[in-house]
Symmetry: D2
Subunit: 347 residues, 4 copies
């Protein structure tokens, strides 16, 4: 079959690879019907993720049709249309049993397109299929479902829930890429009083506005002053870091009010400075995390019931064999205006 | 009256100052019967707390007898024996109404011995007396009560509760000064499975052990390995920073397990490095805070019922007019073995 | 001044009474600009509330202008336009300090129009004025503010928050009177997946629908089956009792899923049967409560920012001196279609 | 093999039955080394549990040695010494994935000795063996481990945690049978300020006292007055129902303070009266539940580390083939003084 493989920094090929086969009784082999590219894939291609070895098929977000299941698979059946989650869960380890699948100790966690071959291929082997896929209801389209493979649960769990967003809160989202925009969407499930978004790109600020941001600011604006003016001088209840660089993280720690929460969602490659001499008595909490996808069933139901609208996330569509073009478009968002790209199996 | 006043770095005097008088209808004038010195007082004397101005009477922990109350004081009465809390609460502002008295916006918070004259004096004016003092039951001695003015609620709220210590947890306490030792005592209220304490001073490790630490380590020990060996290689559930320097904070972030909590209690004067490139997907929470003293009534009841033992905290006792000696002893703990010192009114 | 006084079952007078005067340093005298009638007032008039004695001026919900304040009042000033909350808070007792103002031990709680004279009058004395009133921003009209005096915080705190409504939940609201309708409005702050409402009156079902209910059912419908069909046979995540009779409470305990929550908001005059032989292993929680009004500042901000719409609650408007007519209309909702009535001071 | 089978009310036989065999790839066959009898077994023998059919082997608590595992079992291995939990968990259903194993929708929950053959036998088949058994560390004896099969996690999860016991709380435990006594032990993990126990049997009050109860009362004592006197007239923070009859449940609802919690642990066969006319504004929560055994790993560690002492629970010991005698002793506790009985495999 054809697959997109990583061969060291900046080297990716769309090439023939061996078809995946069942390796374990709880595996499923799934035909990929729709797939997307994640910012993390770009990180890998920059060489930032040494745990991802050359030869690896990339991709950890897809919708597909189950073709074959191992003898130990009970819930998923051949022919099922399923969401392939970015997180694989063994269901038996200490963390899985607490609902912390992202921390799985039994060989799961984020492994697809990272430690084992992923979803940017015609077919993919998914371990622990029963607890690592989600049956899709008919009324949820492939395209909408793709937003549930990573960005919606990530923003909701690691941003909104870890940040304990509550009705009436002032929430600042720093960064309006796909994760930042998904944070705007999922924050609204808790009815914040005001969403402030900061991003240097005008197009992304525009997208933020249309998805529900109340105030959008350029990175060159005096963000701290604007937030203070809108919060009786106190600062934001919650600041969500959705970029992944020291500057934006440090901005978040300045924007948050006494007693507030900083929820880091961004993937970081370098340390930040934590101004404890200012923060020690401020009563803040700072959280980090990988998604558990424990919220995926809920988000799926809400998508099916039209409680969440993800219509505007996908800006570019491709055939699966056009994936090299899709990478080109996705990796230059300021030129192309790309948010999320979707690739579909050709019939 | 006599009082200990601060006159700039390293300058403290035991000298005559004007007697405090009622300045507001909700003030009380309280005779100081017992008082202690806090590590924060030493910080002030090093010039680390610029908000504390020369001329200030120091001290924010005391037990006293109410001598006079303003017309607006309802609960506290002349003759009452009370604990003077390190936190003053207006009771009306947003934060006080949420029980976050440490963040009081109405002129309270940590003000005694900081923004207004404090308790290291023969008498002290306490604003918002009804909500800033606690009536003491007869069976709690002055000496025991002093431990409730700051270190017990601070360690319990900012360390144990913010760190969400739960039964069976492995808790690491970095630093075995008064706050670290109080953390050992209050952690046991939640029955952790194991308490590991790290401190460079042998005497403090000894004290930690006698207060309930299961494992005590020198700072030169391979703390990370020991913690990992005791936690199936995962790390501590909770790491409590009770020193206030970058190294110990950074150690805490390395000691904590995936999904664990770092609770910072130490007073910091400099920024730390936050290794987000290692922490972004680790699912940790980091909290900071000043005590609210919302747990003081509970701790007081537990002290009265002998559920908490603070008998070994006070290592040196003085008359109030010997306070300069007490400072000398308290500021050289490695020579003197001092943990907390207590000063008493002479009859 | 004129006031509506209670003189035993079914006897109410609009008559001259003595003007209220400051009795305590923390009192305020407030001119009533707008006031409403609560279902609880009807309970009193049926003789169901023996703690309310004859001669009492009724009413615990109003908007007014401060005319005079005691010497101990700090935040509220003459001329302020304020919301008079149904709950009075001493701010000093154990429960007030925990934010549980409804349980105030210091002479507060629900006292207005109950244990002391209330708001259905030209003027009212409000004790502990600083912590029992809320300054009103200009953009919130008197009429909208009235909905915050009781029904919005009550439904939000005692129904939605106690029931721990979360995004995606199926919420059943039993009873679509003012409190039930307010529950529909405030439930939506947490984005439930589906709101089911049960009420025997077609007009109220209609109102429920227009306020956001997804499914409305008559009391004669097979409510249990409909709820089960919509929840994979499991039952509702949350059932909110908003009537106050045994039948509706018992219905709630049947409607809720294993692991679900029953939040009782209704005022009950008789015991209910609790089928523990069916519930003991079902893992449910049942909560009761009087509102604390701790959510009032948040709800006020959301009203000011147009995050909540209460435009359709008030169905009838009167001058204050037409209050007897207002009672007639309000007490016959099935004839008059009344939800909430508002009475305004004449200029 | 020999097993204790139920054949309708009051009819139990120790007789030959077919040896259990693997029926599913995730089953294990476990040799029973130690087993106990639960009060629920007596309920079954009274005919109170119609879902338990004649012919059933009883028992849902045991320690054993794994003899054979299905092909889909990954963690448990032949020769392992394991605790057989009263709750079986499929690990894949919605509730198992939330850690609510007691509500398992995948064929688990309480099934052993209820819907499938149980542990009062020489061997037992345990479905979903990986997630329904717990490996036992050497330092935990069979006898101690038996206390973890049901009573310790049940009292801790359904009583102490559902009742949100916190340091300093006044906790009333109504009923001092095995579950009530286990509640006393597990309550102490959260350092309540005072534990009050009510039971009509002097021997059980004695046992309660020795396990840590501060005040023990006979059912004929004026329990309400004693609790009030010890709680400033307010009532208990938490009342734990550990009997299972209407009277004791109703007592709990009277004993609890405004804002308090009633945690029902008892197995009920009849409805109770809920005095909503007194409770509607009292701000209480009432919880019910079957154990999830999510706390078992933690309790096991604490037992291994000597943080919990269960030495006095087992009052009588038997060989497995003396099980009929053991039932006789266990079912007449007032004559025999039995708390828990333990039966051991003969070598």
């Amino acid at each position: 079959m054809k697959a997109l493989t990583y061969h060291g920094p900046s080297r990716r090929y769309w090439a023939d690879v061996a078809d995946p086969v069942l390796e374990d009784t709880e595996d499923a082999i799934i035909r990929v019907d729709a797939v997307t590219i994640c910012g993390t894939d770009l990180h890998i291609l920059r060489g930032d993720v040494p745990t991802c070895e050359p030869g690896r098929v990339l991709g950890h977000e897809a919708v597909g049709t189950v073709q074959e299941v191992g003898a130990g698979v009970r819930r998923v059946q051949q022919g099922d249309r399923v969401l392939i989650s970015c997180i694989t869960a063994c269901a038996r380890c200490r963390f899985c049993r607490e609902g912390r699948y992202g921390l799985c100790l039994g060989g799961g966690g984020w492994i697809l397109g990272h430690r084992i071959d992923g979803t940017q291929a015609e077919r993919v082997r998914v371990p622990y299929a029963d607890t690592s896929t989600h049956a899709l209801p008919e009324q949820v389209s492939d395209e909408a479902a793709l937003m549930l493979a990573d960005i919606l649960p990530t923003s909701f769990e690691v941003g909104i829930k870890a940040g304990r967003v509550a009705p009436g809160d002032t929430v600042v989202v720093v960064g309006a890429g796909p994760i930042g925009l998904a944070s705007i969407v999922t924050a609204q499930l808790l009815s914040p009083g005001r969403i402030v978004v900061v991003d240097p790109a005008a197009a992304r600020r525009e997208a933020a506005k249309s998805l529900g941001a109340d105030i959008v600011l350029d990175s060159t604006d005096d963000v701290e002053s604007v937030v203070r003016e809108n919060t009786d001088g106190l600062g934001a209840d919650v600041a969500i870091e959705a970029v992944g660089i020291p500057e934006t993280f440090e901005l978040c720690t300045r924007l948050v009010r006494p007693g507030g929460r900083v929820a880091n969602v961004g993937v970081h490659g370098a340390p930040a400075t934590l101004h404890l001499e200012q923060l020690w008595d401020k009563g803040v909490s700072i959280t980090t995390g990988l998604v558990d996808t424990s919220s995926t069933p809920t988000l799926l139901t809400m998508l099916a019931n039209h409680r969440i609208d993800v219509g505007s996330f996908i800006t570019h569509r491709f055939g699966l064999d056009e994936i090299q073009d899709a990478y080109d478009v996705f990796s230059r968002p300021s030129d192309t205006g790309a948010l999320k790209v979707a690739l579909f199996r050709q019939h």
